[in-house]
């Protein structure tokens, strides 16, 4: 009888346990949370869009690298806004390959291939160039934009006029070719030594503009020297050993509250990012967007008196860079842009998604003293932009950061 009673107790205990588990599972499966109850009190959080103006924006003039880029510019143009520019294109041919035998009676041409869409100035006007020999040794990779160059103006190597063509062949003088041939045909030199010896004795050619119609960007990978061989009735293509440009600019005249940005780093922007006043935590940042507005109206107005064929190379992107301030420009050109912003024609702004950077700043993983730089891409094409600065306190076009975040409204 006692055993029977125990059994009842155990069975009922087990029953209640099992019943509870079944109810637990059944009811939890029916859970269906929703908006009910959300309005009882302050919700405690909401998505907020904060706009922070970027203060402490400064311009910086950097004499950066001008050699070995995808393009090198030559020409002259007087821009009412961005000043009078004169760019000398510099190039030096490689020696021919060992298989290509040259003769003294051969003729040498310069085949110029340019990017017509990136012409700065009047794209249809005729721009005259003379080609001279350079009179000093220069290094392609170390060459800076503002570095001067000695040119032997006594003897013209060639000349050409370019209007709206994308390519042109320019005959080079026989004297120049003979100098080239002397080293190319030197049987005492090994093939690899020829280039070095040639470059240390003959310094290459300079493309010097003769009028001020435009600046053309020469494509460094396709512009080449072509040697028409007299005995074989064929041509030999010779690439460039080095190339660069030397730019001078004067009489810039841009409006108040605007600062120029040049692809040549003649003017870049620098600033520090401090979000400490924003009271934003990294985990709550949904999106952070850095915006620099281009002064489109000033840029367009300055071209109104010009023919419709006058253009400035359009710049669609800006770069956000960090670099060692003691190692400028090496640390920022080319550098590794941490973010790239795209130009949006609808509002004239360069928009850059810097969410992860804002999160890192909020986490304290980026020093408050970290210097950031904004620059255009330096690929050898001379490109300008005019950016609204932070100096006009009332302007809606001041550089800004728009942060969309989840705000604790119960603080």
């Amino acid at each position: 009888m006692q055993k029977s009673k125990d059994s009842i107790f155990q069975s009922l205990g087990l029953f209640s346990f099992t019943l509870s588990i079944i109810v637990l599972i059944a009811v939890s499966g029916c859970e269906n949370p929703g908006p009910v109850g959300s309005g009882l009190t302050n919700s405690g959080a909401d998505i907020v869009v904060d706009t922070l103006t970027l203060a402490g924006l400064d311009t910086m003039r950097v004499n950066t690298y001008a050699g070995g880029r995808s393009y090198f510019s030559a020409g002259q143009y007087n821009d009412a806004l961005f000043g009078n520019m004169s760019s000398i294109g510099m190039l030096e041919p490689l020696m021919p390959s060992a298989a290509d035998t040259l003769h003294s009676g051969d003729k040498m041409m310069l085949r110029i291939i340019l990017n017509g869409a990136q012409v700065y100035g009047d794209s249809t006007a005729s721009q005259d160039f003379d080609i001279y020999e350079i009179n000093e040794y220069w290094k392609g990779s170390d060459r800076r934009v503002k570095d001067g160059i000695k040119i032997d103006m006594n003897e013209k190597v060639g000349s050409f006029t370019i209007a709206n063509e994308d390519s042109i062949d320019v005959d080079l003088s026989s004297n120049w070719y003979q100098k080239y041939y002397k080293y190319a045909s030197d049987s005492k030199l090994t093939a690899s030594a020829k280039d070095s010896v040639f470059q240390h004795n003959v310094y290459g050619l300079a493309l010097v503009a003769q009028n001020s119609k435009k600046i053309i960007p020469l494509n460094a990978s396709s512009t080449r020297f072509v040697i028409a061989r007299s005995q074989e009735s064929d041509t030999v293509n010779v690439g460039m050993a080095k190339w660069a440009y030397s730019l001078s600019r004067s009489n810039e005249s841009y409006p108040q509250h605007s600062v120029p940005l040049y692809s040549t780093y003649e003017s870049i922007l620098k600033f520090k990012l401090d979000l400490s006043n924003a009271d934003i935590e990294s985990s709550t940042i949904s999106r952070a967007e850095l915006i620099f507005y281009q002064n489109d109206s000033a840029m367009e107005q300055s071209l109104q008196s010009e023919p419709s064929s006058v253009q400035r190379p359009p710049e669609k992107n800006i770069k956000l860079l960090v670099g060692d301030t003691t190692n400028i420009p090496a640390s920022i050109d080319p550098g590794s842009p941490i973010f790239t912003g795209s130009y949006d024609q609808s509002d004239g702004g360069y928009h850059m998604d810097i969410t992860s950077l804002a999160q890192q700043i909020s986490l304290g993983k980026v020093s408050k003293d970290q210097q950031f730089y904004i620059a255009l891409s330096n690929n050898g094409v001379i490109t300008p932009s005019l950016i609204y600065s932070d100096s006009d306190q009332m302007s809606a076009k001041r550089p800004k950061i728009i942060i969309t975040h989840l705000k604790n409204t119960n603080k």
Binding site: D6, I21, N32, S282, D347, D353, Q360, L363, K411
Partner: protein, 432 residues
């Protein structure tokens, strides 16, 4: 002995399963009103008292531990241990939307031991004081940017809360005379509240965002109680019990911090933490009282109530909510019937039966409406045939709140289970 140990193991496993689900689990949420303040108050009743809609201050059950009135510990004869768990389902409706939430909870643990049998007893317990378990989801639309870049941003805000105030208590009860007992208990109360928010967007490049506000702190609590037994009042062998218990106000010194996890890139995430400051939270005093009548040892009828000065509640972290708190009244009426006392061997006579109802005016007034609760309860006690241990089951059904003024009415179903051990690991009465 083996059977009791087996039951205890089952109980522990059961508790573990439920506790695991009730922590910060996404599937556990309770009353939407627990979002306010520091959670919804939890009364100190055991499952037996809950079955009758009572608090348990005015009667003593020899084989079932009770926390309601410290004075009752003076009547401790056996070593008693009890633990309870509960499951509640809340169906909330605001006139437009319907949601269903379920909440699993550990009700309490208590150990009650006699120092001098029937004269002096002590109690140690761990029990909840308030409980916050809620989850809401709301959809929002925001116009962002302007001019040609104007855009409509759709996002969802998820808010879930968990935690509350728990109490670790140690107390003593003394039976001064055969009919008068007094008791006192000191406690440390721990506050641990998590309020988690998430923002989810319907498209990129907006990233999901989150933060968690954690409020934690502690304070000291004091309780006093008295119990008066009046035998042979209306008839021979009847008994009236009078009990009063007073909880003094508790001030919790708390700190609040905001944490969150930011994902910088796939697989790389960091935690951020921000201290939001210190503050105090004042839990108001409470008085519970009741009267019970035993016409015989077969039947008990009782009525009990409580009053708590929630108008004195203050929370430094949410001062704007203070005005929503009003003084709370609760009244319950119930009875229990123990047919096994007659010695009947019928199957249905092996159980304890309890039934009752309670009305709670609530501690909140929202939008001019009191958030009251009406609840009906029924309970079943399953006795161990060869010991004094038992299992108590309680089922309840009730309503909370109102749909007036766009508020929420909740339909509540609940089941609670407690295991009452009355001898294991302690001593058998025959040894004394």
């Amino acid at each position: 002995m083996k059977r009791i140990v087996a039951i205890a193991i089952v109980f522990c496993l059961y508790g573990t399963v439920v506790f695991a689900q009730s922590g910060n689990s996404q599937s556990s949420s309770g009353s939407v009103y627990s979002k306010l303040g520091i959670g919804y108050p939890v009364d100190l009743q055991n499952t037996a008292a809950r079955s009758m809609g009572l608090l348990g201050v005015s009667y003593n059950e020899t084989f079932v531990a009770s926390m309601s009135n410290p004075a009752l510990w003076g009547n401790t004869v056996y070593g008693l241990g009890t633990g309870g768990i509960g499951l509640r389902s809340y169906q909330a409706n605001n006139g437009i939307n319907n949601v269903r939430n379920t909440n699993f909870s550990i009700d309490n643990f208590q150990l009650q031991l006699p120092i001098i049998r029937g004269k002096l007893g002590i109690s140690g317990s761990f029990s909840p004081v308030t409980q916050s378990n809620f989850r809401t989801v709301t959809q929002h639309t925001k116009i962002v940017n302007s001019g040609t870049r104007q855009d409509t941003l759709n996002y969802g805000l998820y808010n879930s809360g968990s935690g509350g105030i728990d109490r670790a208590e140690l107390g003593v009860g003394w039976q001064i005379t055969k009919n008068i007992s007094v008791g006192y208990a000191a406690s440390i109360v721990f506050l641990s509240l998590d309020d988690e928010f998430q923002g989810i967007f319907n498209r990129g490049p907006y990233r999901p965002v989150n933060f968690d506000v954690q409020t934690s702190g502690s304070g000291l609590g004091n309780r006093f109680g008295t119990y008066i037994r009046l035998p042979n009042i209306l008839r021979k062998k009847d008994q009236i019990g009078l009990g009063v218990a007073v909880d003094l106000p508790v001030t919790i010194n708390a700190t609040r911090k905001q944490t969150g996890q930011a994902t910088l890139q796939q697989g790389v995430s960091f935690n951020n933490e921000q201290n939001l400051g210190d503050g105090t939270i004042k839990i108001p005093a409470k008085i519970s009282a009741g009267i019970s009548y035993y016409p015989s040892n077969l039947l008990m009828i009782g009525t009990e109530g409580l009053y708590q000065q929630w108008s004195q509640y203050h929370n430094d972290f949410k001062p704007s909510e203070d005005k929503m708190f009003v003084n709370r009244y609760k009244w319950g009426l119930g009875m229990q019937y123990f047919p096994y006392v007659t010695g009947s061997r019928k199957f249905l006579s092996q159980f304890k039966y309890r039934v009752g109802a309670s009305y709670d005016s609530g501690h909140l007034r929202v939008g001019g409406e009191r958030i009251n609760t009406l609840q009906f309860s029924f309970g079943l006690g399953i006795r161990s045939p060869n010991s004094n241990s038992s299992i108590d089951l309680s089922f309840d059904y009730g309503f909370r709140g109102t749909k007036a003024n766009n508020l929420i009415k909740e339909q509540i179903w609940g089941i609670h289970l407690s295991l009452n051990l009355a001898e294991v690991m302690f001593f058998r009465p025959k040894l004394q």
